[in-house]
Symmetry: C2
Subunit: 271 residues, 2 copies
């Protein structure tokens, strides 16, 4: 039975920066599982980004250990799989969807624009919680970073943008952020899409976006917010080869566990 | 004869992020030398930060190649050397002073608060150009980064602050910035000194601060400006061990060659 019948409030969207603790201190995965246990504790796992055979099964074990009652791995390898009635029916009945890490281009290529993504969006409005880690977090964006170079300063051409799921339409989400020195590519991405807000999530760190489009930070690292509302930039430098980008007037926040950010008003609430 | 008699305008203060090109494309060192050749092309080199014997001699060769008429290496190894009448007299007569890289704590310990630094400040007001690279650039600050840990997110205790020369009183200058991932320590430094402006200078990159306290960027990298004018922060996190710092409302600029920044008005002028 569709959760729409219960008229529940919108589910959480959760973006995890990759490398989340899975054993000793699995705070982020526990928090996601606990949200799902407010329903029937049934979680579907989408391991499509990963090319490893056991990625889905590993997360099944973890979620069961953390209290999930039922888990299913959705075997999605081609776009046609995303139109499968049985898979769409499952999305209608689960309490949470978890999108694993791997290669985010695979998510864009295989899931992008399919009935599966549309069903996830619809069910999220009625209580389905959707989490993505690493590649799965990137895919939550509408304007999505497909790949890019590391380094903390912005260069034209250092980031490749594609279309994500649009589960969160106003954010560009990057992951492994502190660990892989990705400030430069996030700044380049928002410089090219200044209507978006750049969100860089460290490993073992997550944002839990609620139904009011406000998020709270969880986990052990930082969430870097690059707000280009007042951005000025100059990209007509004579440095042809390196295409160095000058940027002026970015607003920068670095948040840790418990801090909040309102995506609508762009206001920070430090805890 | 003291340059004060000529009533010249204030000389440039030049901070170089270390690793400046010395051979094929020595643009920054050439620009400094050219400023000095507007006088008598006489440059004094302070190699005190370096523990290598030939650091001074190497810069002598470079400056001669670039057009300096006379160079002197000031042999300053103890605080008492900074009170030497012959050295103070030389500061009175040279057109430029160049402070090399090495260990910036040595600069703070040996030069800090001496008659030599006082003489340099006075002569700068009347036309003496003063450049510092790497450790020498850090020493230009009044509130100076003595040492710190790398990483792009701020933690309490990740940076040790000491007193620099105060040749530029409003900036906290860090160097090797992009290369050594020092955004975290610069943010921590300005969070603890929010009346200052944080300046992170990449290798082979420099700021030329003019008599109006405006600087222009030169060289091949970026200058990252962290302006904490609107900073809010929360440092009473319960993460005792790591002392993670949340920061809100930093203004961030990343400038490249030709871009300008007015230290007084905190305004950027992109080129």
């Amino acid at each position: 039975m569709s959760k729409q019948n219960f008229n529940r409030q919108q589910g959480y969207i959760i973006a995890i920066g990759g490398g989340e603790n899975k054993n000793k201190k699995p705070d982020i995965l526990r928090k996601f599982t606990e949200l799902c246990t407010q329903g029937n504790a049934h979680i579907a796992i989408i391991p499509t980004a990963s090319e490893l055979e056991d990625t889905g099964a590993q997360y099944q074990q973890i979620f069961h250990r953390l209290g999930a009652k039922r888990t299913d791995v959705l075997n999605i390898k081609r776009r046609i799989d995303c139109e499968s009635p049985s898979i769409l029916k499952m999305i209608n009945s689960v309490d949470g969807v978890f999108i694993t890490g791997g290669d985010q281009s695979r998510l864009a290529d295989i899931l992008g624009g399919t009935s599966l993504v549309e069903a996830m969006k619809q069910e999220n409005l009625h209580g389905l919680h959707i989490a993505g880690t690493s590649a799965g977090a990137a895919f939550i964006s509408q304007t999505m970073i497909a790949s890019g170079k590391s380094g903390n300063t912005p260069r034209l051409g250092m980031v490749e943008i594609t279309k994500g799921s649009g589960l969160s339409s106003k954010l560009i989400i990057d992951q492994h952020f502190r660990q892989r020195h990705r400030l430069g590519r996030l700044i380049t991405a928002v410089a090219q899409n200044p209507e978006k807000i750049g969100i860089g999530i460290d490993e073992d760190t997550a944002i839990f976006i609620d139904h009011k489009n406000k998020f709270e930070v969880a986990g052990g690292g930082w969430v870097t917010i690059v707000d280009p509302a007042a951005l000025e930039l100059c990209d007509i430098k004579s440095n042809f080869s390196k295409q160095k980008l000058s940027v002026e007037g970015l607003k920068l926040h670095m948040l840790t566990s418990g801090d909040q950010f309102d995506i609508e008003t762009r206001q920070v609430m430090l805890c």
